[in-house]
Symmetry: C2
Subunit: 482 residues, 2 copies
C-alpha cells in the first residue's frame, strides 16, 4: 500500500508547512514511514494535499535540515537511513564508560572586556545594534499608560502580555503549541536553570553534555543535584551513552542543547532526537532543552526543538532574549506544562518575588509591534556577514593550524587545533596581545585540556575580527607543541 | 569626675550630630555613662564641643528617639533607666519557653486587588504618586548615554553608581559607615534573604520574631535552615528569650526588624538593642537587620539601625526601595562586610547572573539628582495625613472595639481587638463587603489566631480609608464573640 499523508488537524493553529512536517515525522516515529523509504515528489504531494507546492518544499527543507529526510541530486527524497527502527529501543547499547563525575570549577564572573581588548570569549550579541530608543519609549509607555501594576509587585510567572507574546513566538516559528499559561518569564535562562534545581527532587541526577555551558551546570547543581557528563560527537550528544548511563545510574533529567550544541555548534541528528525523546518519555526523564539562539539560522531553516514533538510533557523548553536581543533586560523563559509552571512560580516568588513588570511590559510591546522581529532580521544579516569575515580570516591566517566545520547558523565557530598545539598556551599568548578567547577546557565538565577554541563573533566588528585572527596568528610564534 | 565627651574623629565622614550620638552611645556601652546619669544641658555641651547648639539638640533628639536618653519637662536629660549595666551579660535569663517550632505555611502570592476592593492588607506604597516620568527619562538616558554595559551583563553586586549612592544614603542618614564595596544591590529585600540562605551553613538555625514577615522566613528557610520563634512585646523582640534559646539550641543567626517591628510597629528599646548586639558579637551570631521603611518617621527622627553600632561585622543590613519608592523596579540592598558581599555575589551570579543594569543606572540617577529624596519627602507628608485620617476613622467607628498604640512612623497601624472578637471572622465578613485586611494569624510563625489586625494605609486614598473603616464597622454586625 503506498504511503498517504494524514494532516493532523488538531494543530490547526500552526503554519501549514509545520503541520506537514509534523505529519511526516509522526509517521516516521510510528513506523509508517521506514528508513530509506522514497517519498512522493513535492508536486505530487502538493496535489494530494491541495496545497501550494512551495509549502511542501518548505516542509521538505525543514525535514531535511532536521535530518529526517535526505535528498540527493536527481533522485527521490527519502527517509534518512540513520533513523532508528521503532523497535530500536531493544537494541544493544554502546559499551562506553562515561568520564568520571566532577563538579564544574568556579569560573570568572562575566565582565566587560577592558578597553582595547578584543573579546572573542563572550557569547553576547552586539548591543550597539539594538533599538534602544524603542525600548526606552516602550518602557515609558508601560509606566505611563500601563496599569499601576507595572510599578507594583507582578505575577511571579511574568506579565501576561509577555507570556502570551512568547507563546505566540514559539507556536508560530518553533512548532511548540503553547498558551501563555504554559509560559513563565525568568531572569535570563540562568534563573530558569536555578528554578529547575529548586523543583528537582533531593539527590537528583542530571545528565549533561560533557562539553557544555558551565553557568547552567552550576545553577542545576546548586541545591545538591549531581551532574554526570555524556560525550558529544559530530551528531550531538551520544544518546546511546546516555541510555546506558541511566541503566547504571538512574537519571532524573538531562540538560541538552539539541538545536546547536553548546559549545561545539553541531545539531543533534534526527535519529538521536527521536531516540532521546522516546527514551525520556518512557522512563519519566525530564529533558531540559536549552534553545539559546534559535533565531540565528543562516542556511536553511532552524531545526524544530524537541519540545515541538513532546506529547507527554517530558520537555522543559528554555529560551532567552539574551542572544537575539540583549542580556541587560534579563528576559528568559520556560515553556512547559501548566502544572510545572505553577511549581516554578511558587519557588520564584520566594527568590525575588517577581520580574520588573514595567520592563516585561515594554518587551511585550517590542514583540507585538514587530520591533523584535525586525531587529532579529537586521542583525541576522550583520552576523552572517561577520561570520563570512571570520571564515575568510581563518582561511587566510590559520588554515594550516586549525580545522572546523561551518555550522548552519549561530554566532560562534568551534575550532580544532591541529598537530598538538597547546591551545591554553595559545590563549595566554593572545591575551597578552589583547585578544581573548576560551579554549575547550572552559567548556569541559571535567577539568582537562582539549584542542578546541570557541570563537564568538557576534559582538565584534568586521575589522576587529580580521585584526583578532591576525593577532591569533602572531601569537602562535614560539608556541611549543605538546 | 564629671563626664566629658570625646568625639570619635575616626568617623569624620559622618554628619556632626551623628558623631555626637555615637560618642554618647559608646560611652553608655562602655559604662562611662550609667543608667540614670544626668547629662549636661545642650547649651553647655555645645560650648564644650564648640558646635552649634542645634547640632546637640539634634543629637539628643536622636538619642531620645532611640531610647538611650530620657527627658522630662523641667528636668535634666538623663541616660535611660532601662539601659543594662555593662555587666548585665552575667544576669539571669528569663525562664520562658519558646513556642513550638513550625514551618511557615505557604501564603497566597502577592496580587493586585480586584477592582472595587479596598485593600488594607498590602504593605505597598502608593505608586500613583511616583515620579514615573523622571524614572522613564532616567532609564532612557541610561540606555542612550550610559556605557554599552547597561544592555549587557552587569556586575552581580549591582551597578557601581547605585551601590555608591546607597552607601552615601546609609552613611548620611542612618549612621552606617559604608563604601560602595560593602553594598550589594538585590532584587528587593526578598532576594537578599534568599541569598543569605544560600551562604548560611547547612543546618543553620535562625531566630525570628514570632510575629513577623512570612516571605522573609520562607526565603531564609528554603535551603533547609530552621527558623525558631522568639516572642515580641511592646519593646520589640524579647532579647533575653533569644539568649536563653541560644543556650539550648545554638543559633547561627537572628532575623530582626528593630527599627519598626514588623508587623507590630514597635521599636526595639535601646537596652535590648545594646544587649542583642553585644550578645551577637560575643557569640558569632549574624544579625539580619531588616530596615524596610526607615524613611517614614512622622514624629522625631528615625532610630539608628543596629548596623550603625556594629564594630565586629556581625550585622547584615537589608534595605529596600519597595516601600519608599516602588516594588516594581525590584531594588533592595545588603550592606555588610566586603567579604560577605563577595560570597553573596558568587551565589547571585548563579541565580540570575545580575540585575538589570539600565534600571539600576536609572535608579542611581534618581538618587544623585535628589529626585528620590524629594519624592520621599513628598509622600511622607501625604502618608502622615492618611495616617491621621485612619486614626480619626478608627476613633469614630471602632473606638469601642479596638485599641492601639500610635507608632512614631511607618505606613501601618497594628490593632488589638477587644472582648474576644473573632478577627478572622471579621476579616471574612469585611472581605464580602469589599475590604481586605490581614489578621494576626497571617504574621504568626505558628499557625494560630491572634486578636490583631494590621491596617496598611499608604496606598489607600483618604476617602477610601474612611470608607474602609466604616465597612469594618458594619462588618462587625452579627459577629460572634469567642
Amino acid at each position: 500500500m503506498p504511503w498517504t499523508i494524514g494532516l493532523d488537524l488538531a494543530s490547526a493553529g500552526e503554519p501549514l508547512f509545520l503541520r506537514i512536517v509534523r505529519a511526516i515525522t509522526n509517521d516516521i516515529r510510528r513506523g509508517r514511514l521506514r528508513a530509506g523509504t522514497a517519498l512522493p515528489g513535492t508536486r505530487t504531494l502538493a496535489r494530494m494535499l491541495a496545497v501550494n507546492r512551495n509549502t511542501v518544499v518548505a516542509a521538505f527543507d525543514e525535514l531535511t535540515a532536521e535530518g529526517w529526510l535526505t535528498t540527493t541530486r536527481a533522485s527521490a527524497t527519502r527517509v534518512a537511513a540513520n533513523i532508528p527502527e521503532p523497535t530500536a529501543l531493544a537494541d544493544g547499547v554502546w559499551n562506553q564508560r562515561p568520564a568520571p563525575i566532577a563538579s564544574p570549577r568556579p569560573r570568572a564572573l562575566r565582565t566587560q572586556p577592558p578597553p582595547g581588548v578584543i573579546s572573542l570569549s563572550r557569547g553576547e550579541p552586539d548591543v550597539s545594534l539594538l533599538p534602544a530608543e524603542q525600548l526606552a519609549r516602550a518602557y515609558r509607555r508601560a509606566l505611563k499608560f500601563g496599569p499601576s501594576s507595572t510599578l507594583s509587585y507582578g505575577d511571579p510567572r511574568g506579565v501576561l502580555a509577555l507570556r502570551e507574546a512568547i507563546a505566540e513566538l514559539v507556536s508560530a516559528t518553533r512548532g511548540i503549541n503553547a498558551t501563555g499559561a504554559q509560559v513563565m518569564v525568568t531572569r535570563g535562562s540562568q534563573m530558569a536553570f536555578a528554578l529547575l534545581a529548586e523543583i528537582s527532587a533531593p539527590g537528583a541526577r542530571i545528565a549533561v553534555e560533557a562539553l557544555g555551558y558551565p553557568p547552567a551546570w552550576q545553577a542545576l547543581q546548586r541545591l545538591g543535584a549531581e551532574v554526570v557528563p555524556v560525550s558529544v560527537d559530530e551528531d550531538g550528544i551520544r544518546v546511546e551513552e546516555l541510555i546506558e548511563l541511566h541503566e547504571r545510574l538512574p537519571l532524573s533529567a538531562a540538560y541538552v542543547t539539541p538545536h546547536r550544541q553548546y559549545p561545539t555548534t553541531v545539531t543533534l541528528s534526527a535519529g538521536r532526537r527521536l531516540r532521546l525523546l522516546d527514551f525520556a518519555s518512557r522512563h519519566g526523564i525530564v529533558l531540559i532543552e536549552d534553545d539559546y539562539d534559535h533565531e540565528f539560522a543562516f542556511s536553511g531553516r532552524p531545526t524544530l526543538p524537541l519540545a515541538s514533538m513532546d506529547r507527554v510533557g517530558c520537555v522543559v523548553y528554555v529560551g532567552t532574549l539574551s542572544k537575539v536581543f540583549a542580556p541587560g533586560p534579563r528576559i528568559g523563559f520556560i515553556v512547559t506544562t501548566e502544572e510545572r509552571i505553577e511549581s516554578l512560580a511558587q519557588r520564584r516568588a520566594i527568590l525575588d518575588a517577581c520580574g520588573d513588570p514595567a520592563v516585561e511590559t515594554a518587551m511585550a510591546e517590542l514583540f507585538t509591534s514587530g520591533e523584535l522581529r525586525r531587529h532579529i532580521n537586521r542583525v541576522r544579516s550583520i552576523y552572517a556577514r561577520r561570520r563570512e569575515v571570520a571564515l575568510e580570516s581563518l582561511q587566510r591566517y590559520l588554515a594550516d593550524t586549525i580545522e572546523y566545520r561551518v555550522p548552519s547558523g549561530g554566532t560562534a565557530l568551534w575550532l580544532h587545533a591541529r598537530d598538538g598545539i597547546d591551545v591554553d598556551a595559545w590563549a595566554a599568548a593572545a591575551e597578552k596581545r589583547g585578544v581573548t578567547f576560551h579554549t575547550g577546557r572552559w567548556y569541559s565538565l571535567v577539568d582537562r585540556s582539549l584542542p578546541n577554541i570557541r570563537l564568538n563573533f557576534a559582538a565584534v566588528g568586521e575589522e576587529q575580527i580580521v585584526k583578532a585572527v591576525e593577532v591569533m596568528r602572531r601569537s602562535l610564534t614560539g608556541l611549543r607543541r605538546t
